[in-house]
Symmetry: C2
Subunit: 217 residues, 2 copies
């Protein structure tokens, strides 16, 4: 699969890109600055020992990817979505954004559109299927989910798109779970703020969540 990681030069984007490259996928790393994307792709390739990743502008990555993953800070969310809007039409966009308030990053914030995921879906329109995923996973685990016991909760209004994101999680070693409609992203995004607080209070580095009580357990 050809996976675009828009905003792929941050910690989350790098972790995801590295994990998918390790899993044998082709990764397109996007950035606002081509040179930064190229450097990050080189770092991924040096780590996995093959030319798995290519760096380019966000819009070009989104255009070339079969599935597009968005990992930008919330204050760049709307601008980036507008930049890639045409390029993602007809595709699945996996939104990893948590609506953190830069002034009060520890404070749970419900954004005007309910969640970043719902805002992305509203902005991109129905031709792009938006799903929320990976918000609750510490970047320390992103490239090798099997080392954590965390689950990836996937929300979005299109059931097939949720299944695609669940497969992407599986490639990284995570159990992805169908967590329902886009509206539920309010909970999944908010959980990240709650987990950050638990990290501080319990001196943990990568608190995550696991769903218990499922039949296969």
């Amino acid at each position: 699969m050809r996976i675009a990681v828009v905003g792929g030069t941050g910690k989350e984007g790098y972790g995801l890109a590295l994990g998918w490259a390790r899993a044998g996928q082709e990764v397109l790393i996007g950035s606002r600055v081509t040179e930064r994307a190229v450097r990050t792709a080189e770092a991924v390739n040096a780590t996995v020992g093959r030319a798995a990743a290519t760096g380019m502008l966000n819009r070009d990555a989104a255009a070339a990817g079969e599935i597009v993953v968005l990992t930008v800070p919330y204050d760049a969310h709307e601008t980036t979505l507008k930049d890639i809007q045409e390029a993602v039409r007809g595709k699945v966009l996996v939104d990893v954004t948590v609506p953190v308030d830069p002034e009060k990053p520890r404070h749970l914030r419900i954004p005007p559109g309910g969640s970043a995921t719902e805002e992305a879906q509203a902005l991109l329109g129905p031709e792009t299927r938006v799903v929320a995923a990976f918000q609750n996973i510490s970047h320390a685990y992103l490239d090798h989910g099997e080392a954590s016991a965390c689950d990836v909760l996937v929300c979005g209004d299109d059931a097939d798109a949720r299944q695609e994101a669940i497969k992407l999680a599986g490639l990284l070693g995570f159990r992805g779970l169908d967590a329902g409609p886009a509206r539920n992203a309010r909970v999944v995004e908010g959980l990240t703020i709650l987990l950050m607080g638990i990290n501080r209070r319990y001196k943990a580095k990568g608190a995550g969540i696991r769903i218990t009580g499922l039949p296969d357990q």
Copy 2:
């Protein structure tokens, strides 16, 4: 400890009362109808084999309890809070309410006050310390947490009150975790709706959550 369970005749209230009775505590079961409270207390006592529980009106249970646990449907939340308001003054109120919409119970609902917990705190005023807890635990596990791997996330604006609720969870065999301010109850209450959806989708009965990645694990 003398624990009042207001709305203690429902499945959640009964499970909690039974668990605390098993753990050697004195339990006051409240209801709008004395006779129903008395019957539920008799059922608890018959199960644990001692006179651990007493049934009475909600307001009387709240007045006699050292700590008060509220387990009513959301549509009875405000009325019940007004009924017990004077009786809980100066105490810790543990709110188990999930703001389910009776017309669309599968649909995540953000209530006017942000969360049931924040609404309770606003209504009762600062002399009563409100904490959210136990919303994510299936009633099938409430009285014996050790059989599940679920954690109890505790939110509220008073740190000491959060510790009291964490102790109550421990009495039932659950690991209680400090999940931060009352505002975070938006996530904890919403998680219940998400878990109910996971129960349906994965044919589970008591999906719950566990926090992973803490130092003691």
